[in-house]
């Protein structure tokens, strides 16, 4: 590679985020002193259109063949700037970022000199690596025009229906023997006479009528191989009497819609399971629905209660030791909706609601207003109320913070508005698909704000409550959104995959087989050449670019593009001295 290395360095202010701490001008001046750096500039927002335009012009004007941008984390804008290089006709992989915001200005606000010094060295490291970067071409792989949907709740059903109507084959895998997930148990929904079951049925009917939909009940996904555009999935379907069959599927995208489990209070938590007068909200909804155990008749502990106490935030906001720290979002509204439905049918019933924070957000506020107007009595608590079963009734006592007094209410039954916890098989699905989960145990989306239905792994999408509590309408909407994202893949013939994969130098490879042993994706095989020599071979489709084989290759024959030994070594050396 004899062409002269001409590097352009661009330092971003990011408004005050960087410039507020790092002396940007000093960093730019320093960058000018680094070998091969022919142009060094700074701008208030490198990621904005003018910033990008500046780079494009410089590439043309100064014939730059490497670009370094010192700004925010590559997780934010590496794709953006690679796009800029592409537009300017330069190979997008001749680009390196120095993270002087999240790793520098935002974390060293009190020590401006050290932060500036660190920024300079981070730029030096990025330039050292940039010098050794080589052009890489994106790897194209064919796309299977089919989608796998895991989970037959409303989110999964909505995603399936959208995609089959869009004209794609969808394999819907549902663990249970019936579709609908938790929604079927929701009884009559707010602002409508529709029940959860009606919503599910309307979706299932349309799905069953479409030939593109393939439904697998009593089935679970066992194994997933391959990557975006070409996932090879093994599904086991239980056929009864211990028999089961394995089904191989080949899909271009996967939508995870595994829903949630209702929070199960511990035995004795608010008297749960120590008296039949205490039920959870989900159990109550079941009781109220026609198919429920009491054919819709409000009977709890065998009697028709004259007074009901609802306790909210059961299992949420760390109200009890067993509870989760997060808010389950839908229990306030679901409880008030259920209360209003009960008041409609049984006007004389006294209802008390023990709440920590009334979170009927958006238009659902009117549920709260109607509940007040229906003479529901609200008691706000900070410490969890105590439920003491008496002989003929249950006494719920709490310190009401609005009147700063302890209130005790004898009621016939107590309803625990339990929240949502991650589905039991979240862990299994997570490990199988190699996607992460957040501190709350729900699946982690690529970006909380702007990529809420995408997983970090390309080609895998997350619908419904799998990523966190939602009500049924939000869950259905996120099913469609996940379907849209899946459609952006399966509508394409070819998918481009990051080229940061491993490559073998056949003149150095001794065929020792160490690399093949390590690859978790079976992307490396040892081939015997005609001259009998054994040489390692990388399947660029399967290789995910982790670099583990490169680190182990005893003769240094295996190198990971973008992270070659000399490139990383250059960064290590540049950390200490600039030459």
């Amino acid at each position: 590679m004899s062409e002269e290395i001409r590097i352009g360095v661009y330092v971003c202010h990011c408004g005050l985020n960087i410039a507020g701490v790092v002396n940007v001008k000093e960093v730019v001046e320093y960058a000018k002193t680094l070998p091969n750096v022919v142009v060094a500039k700074d701008y208030v927002f490198m990621c904005s259109a003018p910033g990008q335009a500046m780079i494009k012009e410089d590439i043309k004007e100064h014939k730059l063949n490497r670009v370094v941008v010192a700004a925010c984390s590559p997780a934010m804008h590496e794709p953006t700037f690679r796009g800029v290089l592409g537009d300017a006709g330069l190979n997008p992989y001749l680009f390196e970022m120095a993270n002087i915001r999240e790793h520098c200005s935002w974390v060293h606000p009190d020590d401006k000199e050290a932060a500036t010094e660190k920024a300079k060295e981070l730029v030096r490291m990025a330039v050292a690596k940039a010098r050794l970067l080589e052009p890489l071409e994106k790897i194209k792989s064919a796309v299977r025009p089919a989608v796998l949907v895991i989970g037959g709740g409303v989110a999964g059903l909505r995603a399936t229906l959208d995609l089959v109507e869009r004209g794609f084959d969808v394999y819907l895998v549902e663990k249970r023997s019936v579709l609908g997930g938790n929604a079927v148990k929701l009884g009559e929904l707010a602002y409508t006479t529709l029940t959860g079951k009606d919503v599910v049925n309307s979706l299932v009917e349309k799905i069953k009528a479409n030939p593109k939909a393939h439904i697998f009940l009593n089935s679970e996904v066992e194994k997933v191989d391959g990557s975006i555009g070409d996932f090879r999935v093994t599904v086991t379907r239980r056929l009864g009497e211990g028999k089961e069959e394995k089904i191989e599927l080949n899909v271009g995208a996967i939508i995870v819609a595994i829903g949630y489990d209702p929070y199960e209070p511990a035995i004795g938590e608010y008297g749960y399971k120590t008296t039949d007068k205490v039920v959870t909200l989900f159990q109550l909804m079941d009781i109220l629905s026609e198919e429920g155990p009491t054919k819709g008749e409000l009977l709890i502990g065998g009697i028709r209660p004259k007074s009901l106490a609802f306790i909210l935030c059961v299992g949420s906001l760390s109200t009890t030791p067993n509870a989760k720290p997060y808010c389950s979002r839908m229990c306030c509204s679901a409880s008030l909706k259920t209360i209003l439905k009960i008041k409609e049918k049984y006007p004389d019933i006294d209802v008390y609601v023990f709440y920590k924070d009334m979170r009927t957000y958006g238009k659902e506020e009117d549920l709260y207003w109607k509940a007040i107007e229906n003479e529901v009595k609200f008691i706000r608590f900070d410490e969890a109320p105590s439920v003491k079963p008496r002989d003929k009734f249950v006494e719920v006592e709490a310190f009401d913070t609005t009147i700063q007094e302890r209130i005790a209410i004898p009621v016939d039954a107590v309803v625990l508005a339990n929240g949502m916890v991650p589905a039991t098989d979240t862990e299994k699905i997570r490990i199988m698909l190699k996607i992460g989960c957040g501190a709350d145990g729900f699946l982690k989306e690529a970006h909380l704000k702007l990529r809420p239905v995408e997983a970090l792994t390309d080609g895998i999408f997350l619908a419904g409550v799998a990523t966190g509590p939602k009500n049924i309408i939000e869950s259905i909407a996120s099913g469609s959104a996940a379907a849209a994202k899946a459609a952006t893949i399966v509508t394409k013939e070819e998918i481009e995959v990051e080229p940061l994969i491993a490559r073998v130098n056949e003149d150095m490879c001794s065929g020792c087989g160490i690399c093949a042993a390590l690859c978790p994706y079976e992307a490396i095989t040892i081939e015997v050449k005609e001259d009998g020599k054994r040489i390692s071979k990388v399947n660029s489709m399967l290789c995910k670019g982790c670099g583990t084989c490169a680190a182990a290759c005893p003769s240094g024959a295996m190198q990971q593009s973008g992270f070659k030994d000399n490139q990383v070594m250059a960064q290590v050396v540049a950390t200490f001295r600039g030459e």
Binding site: M358, G362, K363, T401, L448, A477
Partner: protein, 429 residues
């Protein structure tokens, strides 16, 4: 494959356009103001991740601008819509910028030279822009626009200084409004919201007392592209505030003005309190709330961190009124802390009102009955459980705050849902 029109260039419109275009559907993105970006462009940071808002929005704006399947129609409005799903005729009026967009490079020379100063809508009138202006530094498209009501040439037939100084000679005073007619399969409407008029609750003194702000105004103060370049200073004397009060539910959850809860202001105020502490480490922030609506993912942790880590004080009370101390222009907030039942008159240097969100319904679509307002004035979704984003008529989708108050993630999810449904019309159209 028929194209789809997306009305409104905020984050919801942008996301819907991208989710459609990435499926190979042709999209016309119509935006009323000179640049896309919508409300999110006016935010400094977003909750709960404290991402810098323009840092996560700008790439999407640039992606829309660069996408081969998206045609951007900015400074344009939908005049009339007629037809049925799969075959809508949409009349769009492109207002004249009086700037030739192909030539203009957004260099800003004209803006520097223009003598006329006009209250800047992007910064909610807290600073001035010129008669010829670029809304904000990261605007897409980065083109100048002449505001005919204030430009001296249009009002008095004089000046034309911008024409003289424009390097690529892009100024063209006799540009005419342009009418475009599109035949599309479906329409996604994401026209967003504006804040209600806080003067409806006159007792808080908004508009009367200078140091009373709205959430959005305070967000502009925080932003480095804001009127004060990120400095939090008081309107009355330019001093840094020592005590800031945030009052929630202004014109929300209120029989007199809007009964609904605006969903995002609890978290918005919490975030702004945290950012205020960041800008001014020894400032004291107090948030007066009735219930804290921290329902989204990561919101409760964000609320806890605000209390424990950043020392933001939360008082469960709805202040009755604010009176101003004429000498210091400080604000005395009258409230009863409902958790101690103690009445207090507390003095603050600055008050930020979390004002309700009011949807902006495009009257052309309302006139043609394609969108009907519900009892709160938001775009009605008749079958919310079957089609969560479909408006009154099939083929028309309403997303974002236009449909109901919601945060950015929910708007992005609705955008995806609308894109999916619209795509189905596009292929069958």
């Amino acid at each position: 494959m028929k194209p789809v029109v997306v009305v409104g260039g905020g984050i919801a419109g942008i996301q819907a356009a991208l989710d459609l275009a990435d499926q190979g559907v042709k999209v016309y993105l119509v935006e009323k103001s000179p640049s896309i970006g919508g409300r999110m462009a006016q935010l400094d940071k977003t909750f709960p991740t404290l991402d810098c808002s323009s840092c996560i929005l700008t790439p999407k704006m640039v992606a829309v601008d660069r996408h081969e399947n998206i045609e951007l129609l900015t400074y344009a409005e939908v005049k009339e819509v007629v037809g049925e799903p799969g075959n809508f005729k949409v009349k769009i009026l492109k207002k004249p910028r009086y700037v030739d967009v192909d030539k203009c490079t957004g260099c800003g020379q004209c803006v520097m030279k223009c003598p006329v100063k006009v209250p800047n809508e992007f910064n909610l009138g807290m600073d001035m822009r010129k008669a010829i202006y670029i809304p904000f530094p990261q605007a897409v498209p980065l083109k100048a626009t002449i505001d005919p009501e204030h430009c001296l040439y249009f009002t008095k037939g004089v000046c034309r200084v911008c024409e003289r100084f424009c390097p690529p000679k892009a100024i063209n005073f006799n540009q005419k409004p342009e009418e475009i007619e599109l035949n599309v399969a479906a329409i996604i409407v994401a026209t967003g919201f504006s804040l209600d008029d806080a003067r409806k609750r006159g007792e808080y003194g908004y508009g009367k007392y200078p140091n009373v702000y709205t959430n959005l105004e305070f967000e502009r103060l925080l932003s480095s592209t804001g009127p004060t370049k990120g400095e939090i200073v008081r309107r009355s004397d330019g001093r840094h505030p020592k005590k800031i009060a945030f009052i929630q539910c202004v014109c929300s959850r209120d029989e007199l003005t809007n009964k609904y809860c605006s969903a995002i202001c609890c978290m918005a105020s919490t975030k702004e309190a945290i950012l205020a502490k960041e800008h001014l480490p020894d400032v004291e922030c107090t948030i007066f709330f009735m219930d804290v609506r921290a329902f989204g993912k990561g919101y409760q942790e964000f609320f806890e961190r605000a209390k424990q880590e950043f020392g933001v004080r939360f008082v469960r009370a709805r202040p009755a009124k604010i009176e101003e101390d004429p000498k210091t222009r400080n604000l005395i907030v009258y409230y009863e802390d409902t958790e101690t039942s103690r009445f207090t008159k507390e003095e603050f240097d600055m008050v930020v009102l979390a004002v309700a969100l009011r949807p902006i319904l495009p009257e052309s679509l309302v006139k043609s009955g394609l969108i009907q307002p519900d009892n709160y004035g938001f775009a009605d979704v008749p079958e919310m459980y079957i089609e969560p984003v479909r408006a009154s008529k099939p083929g028309i989708f309403v997303i974002g705050v236009l449909q109901s108050p919601k945060d950015i993630p929910d708007s992005v999810i609705q955008a995806g849902a609308a894109a999916m449904r619209a795509a189905i019309y596009a292929i069958s159209g």
